[in-house]
Homo-oligomer: 341 residues x 2
DNA sequence: CTGTTTTTGATTTACGTACCTCAGAAATTC
DNA sequence: GAATTTCTGAGGTACGTAAATCAAAAACAG
């Protein structure tokens, strides 16, 4: 039978109240007595029953998700996943809310975080903007004892406790490796379609992609970067223009959103002249393109996993428990048409 | 505030005892009264507090893991992961044990399952052998109300509730797709190194691999299958022999264990004459080979995820809760040297 | 040694549910 | 209408922990 507080009290020769004082770090216990209790705890291998403790405390975990009000399909799915988690939270003693802030607006994000801090939740998950003011604000939240998890997009050195997202440099490198190997022709000419170099994930993906190509596939030429601001219309126009201008274009890496535009531009081409295409995020349209061969590979981060991981980590933080690094690592999914879920 | 049994009692105009009788399916409640209570439950949106219920019941979940006493690194890791989970189970009210049975021995597996059934655990996870006697035995366990999860290797139509493992046909197809694309030469000649065609996973991987190659890459020739019984020594000899006999051998798919032998045979070759190599399971040796370029891609199933998923599913089954399919899907990890964890 | 402060013990209530007993009400049978 | 059976209510105890009160004991200061 698992030892309880009663067993410890008996074993240490003290009262239940004293054990409670030690366990919950309350004052009024002499060093010697505290030591006796701690000895009993470790010798009996006592571990506090969290369920019972939470029941007694009437504790409910309170978490806030601060998400960008962005309408690309990935962000929409992310929000759905948080909502699904909220729907499931009836069973767990958890209260979560979503706070939407204008996208790419550091000031708005900081304001939202300040507001969140005011009602002192146990934890906050946010899609970060890597900016000094945001870092400082996150630091303050962490100092206030609030658990902080960055979601999808990380912050540089800051007080955040955990990052629930993929390693974007590794993702870019992986795309580069696949691109280099898929391009059977020696005179590869590759175009890169990005959202914006203002965003850390996109910068990192590009960095990884270019470094692998230059290291391992020096014969591949990189065309000027296309920044389409994650907008399908802009992306379509840019890709059409690139196809027109560069006759030998045989590879495209789309590292941001707006893939619908890219696909519209590609569908007009004859199958045998289509470039090798590697894109990010498995959505209805990229999935379809993967199946029909317009896209060759999709790199994906699983929004559901990211949300669930963030919640697990925040809960662990709130309980002062360690997190299982291996479990919480968000993997870069590589989807070919043969391993679609 | 979340409604409790007291709220239901008040709302339905009955006593606590009656609510309890309805909730726990005890006899002695008239249909009309039962209906009133159920109406109150649904109108108030009551959900039983599992933590409190388990506390009251003094419930501990009891699960058994039946694993093959196999010494390949994947099975060793699987066992480690179960042990790690057991180590963590102090916090949760869970008691798990590991039962090792001789590998590839259906009779021994059935005997072990019978023994397990005798002490009526809440759930059993097993690395299945796809055999009629095993299926029948699993059926009996399920009928006895025991949750059944197959781990790594599935059973055909049977009473098992869940399979915590990868889709091996998809894995083989993925390997085939990568192989076809990585072989830049038109006259591909590919060798397949397997453990044994007696094992379902291996059969399925081969099936998937061959079907993709014949569909999408008909120019690739497949050499006679090498069955090395997951033994490194045998694998080494077979690969050496194949390399000697087939001059144009430029691709190897290793779909089982025993990769150390394969690697020994490959290291002797000059870098530029080395075949494209795709293997399964990320281990110390395949990882090293990936980094130094001997292996081009590794398909992997995460043993830790499989074990944790099995436990989550068994717990959900024991509680009569639904499982989150998306969360429990075990993914086929594709590792290139650029996205190693 | 007295008075004060600090530490400790004993006991109680609470969290939300399970499960038990016993008495009394209601429905059913004869 | 009485006897029986079937429901229902009221109340309690338990699970393991938290948190509080109040009294008693111990340590300390002067």
């Amino acid at each position: 039978m698992k030892p309880t507080v009663h067993d410890i009290a008996r074993h240490a020769g003290v009262s239940l109240a004293t054990v409670d004082r030690v366990l919950n770090g309350r004052a009024g216990v002499r060093g010697i007595t505290r030591q006796k209790v701690e000895e009993a705890i470790s010798s009996l291998g006592y571990v506090r029953d969290l369920a019972a403790a939470n029941l007694a405390k009437g504790r409910t975990y309170r978490f806030s998700f601060v998400l960008p009000a962005n309408d690309n399909s990935f962000m929409i799915r992310l929000k759905h996943e948080v909502e699904a988690a909220i729907g499931r939270s009836a069973t767990e003693r958890t209260r979560m809310d979503i706070i939407e802030v204008p996208a790419f607006d550091a000031g708005a994000l900081v304001a939202a975080l300040e507001a969140v801090m005011a009602d002192k939740p146990d934890g906050v998950a946010l899609v970060a903007i890597d900016e000094p003011r945001v870092r400082a604000c996150v630091e303050r939240l962490a100092d206030a004892g609030i658990g902080i998890v960055t979601l999808v997009s990380d912050l540089g050195a800051s007080g955040r406790h955990h990052y629930a997202g993929i390693d974007n440099i590794a993702a870019g490198r992986t795309a580069g490796n696949l691109m280099g190997r898929f391009l059977s022709k020696v005179d590869g000419r590759v175009g890169v379609l990005a959202g914006s170099m203002m965003v850390r994930d996109h910068r990192e993906r590009l960095e990884g992609f270019l470094s692998v190509l230059s290291e391992d596939f020096p014969q591949v030429a990189i065309l000027p970067l296309m920044e389409a601001r994650d907008d399908a219309g802009v992306a379509e126009a840019m890709v059409r223009e690139a196809l027109r201008r560069h006759a030998g274009l045989n590879g495209i890496y789309s590292l941001g959103a707006g893939n619908r535009g890219l696909l519209r531009a590609l569908r007009d081409l004859a199958a045998e002249t289509r470039p090798v295409v590697i894109a990010h995020e498995l959505t209805a349209s990229t999935r379809e393109a993967l199946v029909d061969g317009t896209i060759d590979a999709v790199l994906n981060q699983d929004a559901g996993h990211e949300v669930r991981s963030a919640i697990r980590v925040l809960k662990a933080k709130a309980d002062g428990l360690p997190v299982l690094a291996a479990q919480e690592r968000i993997r870069i999914d590589i989807f070919l048409k043969d391993n679609l879920p």
